[in-house]
Protein backbone atom coordinates (compact mmCIF):
# COMPACT_ATOMS: atom_id res chain seq x y z
CA UNK A 1 0.00 0.00 0.00
CA UNK A 2 1.40 3.44 -0.89
CA UNK A 3 2.13 5.76 2.02
CA UNK A 4 1.00 8.79 0.02
CA UNK A 5 -1.77 9.26 -2.50
CA UNK A 6 -2.72 12.03 -4.93
CA UNK A 7 -6.09 13.73 -4.60
CA UNK A 8 -7.35 15.48 -7.73
CA UNK A 9 -9.71 18.02 -6.23
CA UNK A 10 -12.14 20.06 -8.30
CA UNK A 11 -11.90 23.74 -7.39
CA UNK A 12 -14.36 26.48 -8.25
CA UNK A 13 -13.62 30.01 -7.11
CA UNK A 14 -16.45 32.13 -8.49
CA UNK A 15 -14.62 35.41 -7.84
CA UNK A 16 -11.86 34.49 -10.31
CA UNK A 17 -12.99 31.50 -12.42
CA UNK A 18 -15.83 31.09 -14.88
CA UNK A 19 -15.85 27.32 -14.50
CA UNK A 20 -14.38 24.62 -12.26
CA UNK A 21 -10.70 23.67 -12.52
CA UNK A 22 -8.69 20.89 -10.96
CA UNK A 23 -5.91 20.96 -8.39
CA UNK A 24 -3.71 18.07 -7.27
CA UNK A 25 -2.57 17.50 -3.71
CA UNK A 26 -0.45 14.72 -2.29
CA UNK A 27 -1.68 13.50 1.07
CA UNK A 28 -0.61 10.72 3.47
CA UNK A 29 -2.53 7.46 3.09
CA UNK A 30 -2.58 5.49 6.34
CA UNK A 31 -4.98 2.56 6.16
CA UNK A 32 -7.49 4.15 8.55
CA UNK A 33 -7.76 7.43 6.59
CA UNK A 34 -10.94 8.23 4.73
CA UNK A 35 -11.23 10.71 1.85
CA UNK A 36 -12.45 13.34 4.34
CA UNK A 37 -9.22 12.92 6.36
CA UNK A 38 -7.33 13.66 3.14
CA UNK A 39 -9.36 16.84 2.59
CA UNK A 40 -8.85 17.92 6.21
CA UNK A 41 -5.10 17.37 5.77
CA UNK A 42 -5.16 19.63 2.70
CA UNK A 43 -7.13 22.30 4.55
CA UNK A 44 -4.86 22.19 7.64
CA UNK A 45 -1.43 21.64 6.07
CA UNK A 46 -1.43 22.45 2.35
CA UNK A 47 -4.11 24.88 1.25
CA UNK A 48 -6.45 26.65 3.64
CA UNK A 49 -8.57 28.03 0.81
CA UNK A 50 -10.24 24.70 -0.03
CA UNK A 51 -13.97 24.73 0.81
CA UNK A 52 -16.07 21.65 1.59
CA UNK A 53 -18.76 20.58 4.06
CA UNK A 54 -18.38 18.11 6.86
CA UNK A 55 -19.43 17.65 10.44
CA UNK A 56 -19.82 14.33 12.24
CA UNK A 57 -17.22 12.05 10.54
CA UNK A 58 -19.47 9.05 11.25
CA UNK A 59 -22.14 8.81 8.56
CA UNK A 60 -24.88 10.50 10.57
CA UNK A 61 -24.97 14.16 9.54
CA UNK A 62 -25.00 13.64 5.76
CA UNK A 63 -22.85 16.72 5.08
CA UNK A 64 -19.77 15.28 3.39
CA UNK A 65 -21.28 13.76 0.24
CA UNK A 66 -19.03 14.20 -2.82
CA UNK A 67 -18.22 12.43 -6.04
CA UNK A 68 -15.24 10.14 -5.46
CA UNK A 69 -13.86 8.77 -8.72
CA UNK A 70 -17.21 9.53 -10.35
CA UNK A 71 -19.37 7.84 -7.72
CA UNK A 72 -21.46 9.67 -5.07
CA UNK A 73 -19.98 8.78 -1.67
CA UNK A 74 -19.97 9.93 1.93
CA UNK A 75 -16.31 10.94 2.15
CA UNK A 76 -16.24 10.07 5.86
CA UNK A 77 -17.03 6.45 5.01
CA UNK A 78 -14.81 6.01 1.95
CA UNK A 79 -11.29 4.78 2.66
CA UNK A 80 -8.41 6.24 0.69
CA UNK A 81 -6.66 2.88 0.71
CA UNK A 82 -9.46 1.41 -1.45
CA UNK A 83 -8.28 3.67 -4.26
CA UNK A 84 -4.58 2.84 -4.09
CA UNK A 85 -2.28 3.64 -5.82
CA UNK A 86 -4.47 6.58 -6.86
CA UNK A 87 -5.05 9.23 -7.99
CA UNK A 88 -8.45 9.84 -6.40
CA UNK A 89 -10.69 12.38 -8.06
CA UNK A 90 -12.90 14.36 -5.67
CA UNK A 91 -15.70 16.45 -7.20
CA UNK A 92 -18.77 18.24 -5.89
CA UNK A 93 -21.99 16.18 -5.96
CA UNK A 94 -23.37 15.92 -9.47
CA UNK A 95 -26.75 17.45 -10.45
CA UNK A 96 -26.44 20.42 -8.08
CA UNK A 97 -25.28 24.00 -8.64
CA UNK A 98 -21.75 24.48 -7.27
CA UNK A 99 -21.37 27.30 -4.77
CA UNK A 100 -17.62 26.99 -4.26
CA UNK A 101 -15.07 24.17 -4.60
CA UNK A 102 -16.81 21.06 -3.23
CA UNK A 103 -19.80 22.89 -1.73
CA UNK A 104 -23.10 22.44 -3.58
CA UNK A 105 -26.42 24.24 -3.24
CA UNK A 106 -29.20 21.92 -2.05
CA UNK A 107 -31.95 24.48 -1.48
CA UNK A 108 -34.00 22.78 -4.20
CA UNK A 109 -34.36 19.67 -2.03
CA UNK A 110 -35.03 21.76 1.06
CA UNK A 111 -37.93 23.45 -0.76
CA UNK A 112 -39.33 20.17 -2.10
CA UNK A 113 -39.12 18.22 1.14
CA UNK A 114 -41.93 19.99 3.09
CA UNK A 115 -44.27 19.67 0.08
CA UNK A 116 -44.54 15.90 0.67
CA UNK A 117 -45.58 16.50 4.30
CA UNK A 118 -42.89 14.41 5.98
CA UNK A 119 -44.57 14.44 9.36
CA UNK A 120 -47.43 12.53 10.98
CA UNK A 121 -50.73 13.86 9.65
CA UNK A 122 -53.83 13.18 11.78
CA UNK A 123 -57.38 13.90 10.70
CA UNK A 124 -58.21 14.35 14.33
CA UNK A 125 -55.79 14.31 17.23
CA UNK A 126 -56.55 11.89 20.05
CA UNK A 127 -57.27 13.65 23.39
CA UNK A 128 -54.18 13.70 25.60
CA UNK A 129 -56.01 11.70 28.27
CA UNK A 130 -56.14 8.69 25.93
CA UNK A 131 -52.37 8.48 25.99
CA UNK A 132 -49.79 8.09 23.28
CA UNK A 133 -50.15 6.52 19.83
CA UNK A 134 -48.79 3.05 20.39
CA UNK A 135 -47.08 0.90 17.84
CA UNK A 136 -46.02 -2.76 17.70
CA UNK A 137 -42.48 -3.73 16.65
CA UNK A 138 -43.99 -5.13 13.42
CA UNK A 139 -45.65 -1.78 12.66
CA UNK A 140 -42.31 -0.05 13.29
CA UNK A 141 -40.54 -2.46 10.92
CA UNK A 142 -42.92 -1.47 8.11
CA UNK A 143 -41.35 1.98 7.76
CA UNK A 144 -38.12 1.90 9.76
CA UNK A 145 -35.87 1.38 6.72
CA UNK A 146 -37.23 4.52 5.04
CA UNK A 147 -36.76 6.56 8.23
CA UNK A 148 -32.98 6.06 8.14
CA UNK A 149 -32.47 8.79 5.50
CA UNK A 150 -29.86 11.41 6.48
CA UNK A 151 -30.60 13.81 3.56
CA UNK A 152 -27.05 13.41 2.23
CA UNK A 153 -28.20 13.94 -1.39
CA UNK A 154 -26.17 11.02 -2.78
CA UNK A 155 -29.38 9.62 -4.31
CA UNK A 156 -30.13 12.90 -6.11
CA UNK A 157 -26.60 12.91 -7.40
CA UNK A 158 -26.94 9.35 -8.75
CA UNK A 159 -30.34 9.99 -10.34
CA UNK A 160 -30.18 10.88 -14.06
CA UNK A 161 -33.89 11.76 -14.01
CA UNK A 162 -33.19 14.52 -11.48
CA UNK A 163 -30.20 15.65 -13.55
CA UNK A 164 -32.33 15.95 -16.67
CA UNK A 165 -35.58 17.10 -15.07
CA UNK A 166 -34.94 19.32 -12.03
CA UNK A 167 -38.66 19.52 -11.23
CA UNK A 168 -38.66 15.82 -10.28
CA UNK A 169 -39.40 15.60 -6.54
CA UNK A 170 -36.61 13.04 -6.26
CA UNK A 171 -35.69 9.82 -4.43
CA UNK A 172 -35.14 10.94 -0.83
CA UNK A 173 -38.25 13.15 -0.61
CA UNK A 174 -40.49 10.39 -2.04
CA UNK A 175 -38.91 7.77 0.25
CA UNK A 176 -39.64 10.07 3.20
CA UNK A 177 -43.25 10.49 2.05
CA UNK A 178 -43.49 6.70 1.94
CA UNK A 179 -41.94 6.49 5.42
CA UNK A 180 -44.98 8.41 6.78
CA UNK A 181 -47.50 6.61 4.57
CA UNK A 182 -46.39 3.30 6.06
CA UNK A 183 -46.53 4.62 9.63
CA UNK A 184 -49.55 3.15 11.43
CA UNK A 185 -50.11 6.47 13.26
CA UNK A 186 -50.35 8.51 10.06
CA UNK A 187 -53.53 9.42 8.17
CA UNK A 188 -52.06 11.67 5.50
CA UNK A 189 -51.40 9.19 2.68
CA UNK A 190 -54.30 10.52 0.58
CA UNK A 191 -52.94 14.09 0.69
CA UNK A 192 -49.45 12.88 -0.24
CA UNK A 193 -50.73 10.64 -3.04
CA UNK A 194 -52.65 13.52 -4.64
CA UNK A 195 -49.45 15.53 -4.62
CA UNK A 196 -46.98 12.83 -5.70
CA UNK A 197 -49.08 10.95 -8.23
CA UNK A 198 -47.92 12.96 -11.23
CA UNK A 199 -45.04 13.35 -13.66
CA UNK A 200 -42.91 15.36 -11.30
CA UNK A 201 -43.63 12.86 -8.52
CA UNK A 202 -43.52 9.08 -8.59
CA UNK A 203 -44.26 8.74 -12.33
CA UNK A 204 -41.17 10.76 -13.16
CA UNK A 205 -39.05 7.88 -11.84
CA UNK A 206 -37.95 5.44 -14.54
CA UNK A 207 -36.45 2.98 -12.03
CA UNK A 208 -32.79 3.38 -12.90
CA UNK A 209 -32.20 2.08 -9.36
CA UNK A 210 -28.91 3.91 -8.77
CA UNK A 211 -30.37 5.85 -5.81
CA UNK A 212 -30.70 2.59 -3.91
CA UNK A 213 -27.22 1.39 -4.84
CA UNK A 214 -25.47 4.54 -3.63
CA UNK A 215 -27.54 5.08 -0.46
CA UNK A 216 -25.14 4.84 2.51
CA UNK A 217 -28.02 4.07 4.91
CA UNK A 218 -29.67 1.30 2.83
CA UNK A 219 -32.92 3.23 2.58
CA UNK A 220 -33.85 1.83 -0.87
CA UNK A 221 -35.58 4.94 -2.31
CA UNK A 222 -36.13 3.14 -5.64
CA UNK A 223 -38.07 0.44 -3.80
CA UNK A 224 -40.12 3.08 -1.97
CA UNK A 225 -41.04 4.78 -5.26
CA UNK A 226 -42.00 1.53 -7.03
CA UNK A 227 -44.17 0.49 -4.07
CA UNK A 228 -45.74 3.93 -4.19
CA UNK A 229 -46.49 3.46 -7.92
CA UNK A 230 -48.21 0.16 -7.14
CA UNK A 231 -50.34 1.89 -4.48
CA UNK A 232 -51.20 4.72 -6.89
CA UNK A 233 -52.11 2.29 -9.68
CA UNK A 234 -54.36 0.23 -7.38
CA UNK A 235 -55.95 3.45 -6.11
CA UNK A 236 -56.68 4.51 -9.70
CA UNK A 237 -58.19 1.08 -10.45
CA UNK A 238 -60.38 1.28 -7.35
CA UNK A 239 -61.53 4.75 -8.39
CA UNK A 240 -62.36 3.36 -11.81
CA UNK A 241 -64.37 0.34 -10.67
CA UNK A 242 -65.74 1.21 -7.25
CA UNK A 243 -68.23 3.92 -6.30
CA UNK A 244 -66.67 6.85 -4.45
CA UNK A 245 -67.87 5.79 -0.98
CA UNK A 246 -66.25 2.34 -1.11
CA UNK A 247 -62.68 3.59 -1.58
Amino acid sequence: MPDRITLQVVRYRPEKEAEPTEQEYEVPCPKDWVVLDGLNYIKDQLDGTLSYRWSCRMGICGSCGMMVNGEPKLTCATFLSEYGPGPVRVEPLRNFPIVRDLVVEMGDFMRKLPTVKPWIVRKEEKPLAEGEYRQTPEQLDEYKQFSMCINCMLCYSACPVYGLEPHFVGPAAIALAQRYNLDSRDQGSRERLDLLSDHEGIWGCTFVGECTRVCPKHVDPAGAIQRYKLTAALDWLKGFFLPRGAR
Binding site: P14, P97, I98, G209, E210, T212, G223
Partner: protein
Amino acid sequence: MNQPPHAYTDFHPRWYRPRLSTYWWLDRWPYLAFILRELSSVFVAWAVVYLLFLVQALARGASSYRQFLDWSASPGIVLLNVVALAFLCFHAVTWFNLAPQAMVVHMRGKRVPGMWIAISNYVAWAVVSLLVIWLLVARD
Protein backbone atom coordinates in the same frame (compact mmCIF):
# COMPACT_ATOMS: atom_id res chain seq x y z
CA MET B 1 -42.78 40.92 0.25
CA ASN B 2 -44.52 37.75 -0.84
CA GLN B 3 -41.48 35.86 -1.95
CA PRO B 4 -39.61 33.73 0.58
CA PRO B 5 -36.26 35.13 1.76
CA HIS B 6 -34.24 32.53 -0.16
CA ALA B 7 -35.96 33.18 -3.51
CA TYR B 8 -33.24 35.53 -4.78
CA THR B 9 -30.78 32.62 -4.74
CA ASP B 10 -32.68 30.83 -7.52
CA PHE B 11 -30.84 32.93 -10.06
CA HIS B 12 -27.60 33.34 -8.19
CA PRO B 13 -25.14 34.61 -10.81
CA ARG B 14 -22.04 33.04 -9.37
CA TRP B 15 -23.14 29.44 -8.96
CA TYR B 16 -21.72 27.10 -11.53
CA ARG B 17 -24.52 25.01 -13.01
CA PRO B 18 -23.10 21.91 -14.68
CA ARG B 19 -25.21 20.35 -17.42
CA LEU B 20 -25.72 16.63 -17.76
CA SER B 21 -24.06 15.42 -20.96
CA THR B 22 -26.30 13.95 -23.67
CA TYR B 23 -24.19 10.80 -23.34
CA TRP B 24 -24.60 10.48 -19.56
CA TRP B 25 -25.79 6.89 -20.06
CA LEU B 26 -22.36 5.86 -21.36
CA ASP B 27 -20.73 6.98 -18.09
CA ARG B 28 -21.28 3.83 -16.10
CA TRP B 29 -22.53 0.30 -16.68
CA PRO B 30 -25.68 0.58 -14.47
CA TYR B 31 -26.85 3.58 -16.56
CA LEU B 32 -26.16 1.72 -19.81
CA ALA B 33 -27.96 -1.37 -18.47
CA PHE B 34 -30.94 0.86 -17.67
CA ILE B 35 -30.98 2.33 -21.19
CA LEU B 36 -30.74 -1.18 -22.70
CA ARG B 37 -33.63 -2.28 -20.49
CA GLU B 38 -35.72 0.65 -21.72
CA LEU B 39 -34.69 -0.11 -25.31
CA SER B 40 -35.73 -3.74 -24.86
CA SER B 41 -39.37 -2.61 -24.76
CA VAL B 42 -39.10 -1.86 -28.50
CA PHE B 43 -38.21 -5.51 -29.09
CA VAL B 44 -41.02 -6.65 -26.80
CA ALA B 45 -43.38 -4.63 -29.01
CA TRP B 46 -41.81 -6.25 -32.11
CA ALA B 47 -42.38 -9.71 -30.62
CA VAL B 48 -46.08 -8.88 -30.15
CA VAL B 49 -46.41 -7.55 -33.71
CA TYR B 50 -44.63 -10.64 -35.08
CA LEU B 51 -47.04 -12.89 -33.17
CA LEU B 52 -50.01 -10.95 -34.59
CA PHE B 53 -48.61 -11.42 -38.12
CA LEU B 54 -48.34 -15.15 -37.42
CA VAL B 55 -51.94 -15.37 -36.20
CA GLN B 56 -53.13 -13.37 -39.21
CA ALA B 57 -51.24 -15.67 -41.62
CA LEU B 58 -52.71 -18.73 -39.91
CA ALA B 59 -56.24 -17.33 -40.19
CA ARG B 60 -55.80 -16.72 -43.92
CA GLY B 61 -55.04 -20.37 -44.68
CA ALA B 62 -52.24 -22.75 -45.61
CA SER B 63 -50.63 -20.83 -48.47
CA SER B 64 -50.54 -17.62 -46.50
CA TYR B 65 -48.96 -19.48 -43.57
CA ARG B 66 -46.33 -20.98 -45.90
CA GLN B 67 -45.56 -17.51 -47.21
CA PHE B 68 -45.17 -16.23 -43.64
CA LEU B 69 -42.75 -19.06 -42.83
CA ASP B 70 -40.67 -18.26 -45.94
CA TRP B 71 -40.61 -14.58 -44.99
CA SER B 72 -39.56 -15.53 -41.43
CA ALA B 73 -36.68 -17.60 -42.80
CA SER B 74 -35.16 -14.65 -44.66
CA PRO B 75 -31.78 -13.65 -43.12
CA GLY B 76 -32.94 -10.17 -42.10
CA ILE B 77 -35.93 -11.43 -40.13
CA VAL B 78 -33.91 -14.26 -38.54
CA LEU B 79 -31.27 -11.75 -37.43
CA LEU B 80 -33.94 -9.38 -36.11
CA ASN B 81 -35.61 -12.20 -34.17
CA VAL B 82 -32.31 -13.41 -32.68
CA VAL B 83 -31.55 -9.87 -31.46
CA ALA B 84 -35.16 -9.53 -30.23
CA LEU B 85 -34.86 -12.82 -28.29
CA ALA B 86 -31.67 -11.61 -26.59
CA PHE B 87 -33.35 -8.32 -25.62
CA LEU B 88 -36.51 -10.13 -24.45
CA CYS B 89 -34.43 -12.36 -22.15
CA PHE B 90 -32.58 -9.27 -20.85
CA HIS B 91 -35.94 -7.54 -20.32
CA ALA B 92 -37.40 -10.50 -18.42
CA VAL B 93 -34.32 -11.14 -16.24
CA THR B 94 -33.82 -7.48 -15.27
CA TRP B 95 -37.50 -7.00 -14.43
CA PHE B 96 -37.70 -10.24 -12.42
CA ASN B 97 -34.65 -9.15 -10.47
CA LEU B 98 -36.23 -5.74 -9.78
CA ALA B 99 -39.64 -7.18 -8.81
CA PRO B 100 -38.79 -7.70 -5.10
CA GLN B 101 -38.15 -3.95 -4.73
CA ALA B 102 -41.65 -3.09 -5.93
CA MET B 103 -43.56 -5.96 -4.34
CA VAL B 104 -43.88 -6.45 -0.63
CA VAL B 105 -45.75 -9.63 0.20
CA HIS B 106 -46.75 -10.63 3.70
CA MET B 107 -47.48 -14.24 4.63
CA ARG B 108 -48.75 -15.10 8.12
CA GLY B 109 -47.81 -11.63 9.32
CA LYS B 110 -44.20 -11.92 8.10
CA ARG B 111 -42.59 -10.25 5.12
CA VAL B 112 -41.63 -12.73 2.39
CA PRO B 113 -37.89 -12.34 1.58
CA GLY B 114 -37.26 -10.56 -1.74
CA MET B 115 -35.37 -13.55 -3.13
CA TRP B 116 -38.53 -15.68 -3.00
CA ILE B 117 -40.49 -13.11 -4.98
CA ALA B 118 -37.82 -13.15 -7.71
CA ILE B 119 -37.67 -16.97 -7.63
CA SER B 120 -41.47 -17.26 -7.93
CA ASN B 121 -41.30 -15.07 -11.05
CA TYR B 122 -38.65 -17.34 -12.59
CA VAL B 123 -40.67 -20.44 -11.67
CA ALA B 124 -43.78 -18.97 -13.33
CA TRP B 125 -41.67 -18.17 -16.43
CA ALA B 126 -40.35 -21.75 -16.55
CA VAL B 127 -43.83 -23.28 -16.07
CA VAL B 128 -45.36 -21.17 -18.85
CA SER B 129 -42.41 -21.91 -21.15
CA LEU B 130 -42.69 -25.66 -20.51
CA LEU B 131 -46.43 -25.50 -21.15
CA VAL B 132 -45.83 -23.78 -24.50
CA ILE B 133 -43.14 -26.30 -25.45
CA TRP B 134 -45.50 -29.14 -24.53
CA LEU B 135 -48.25 -27.61 -26.66
CA LEU B 136 -45.88 -27.27 -29.62
CA VAL B 137 -43.90 -30.48 -29.42
CA ALA B 138 -45.63 -33.17 -27.37
CA ARG B 139 -49.02 -32.82 -29.04
CA ASP B 140 -47.72 -33.27 -32.58
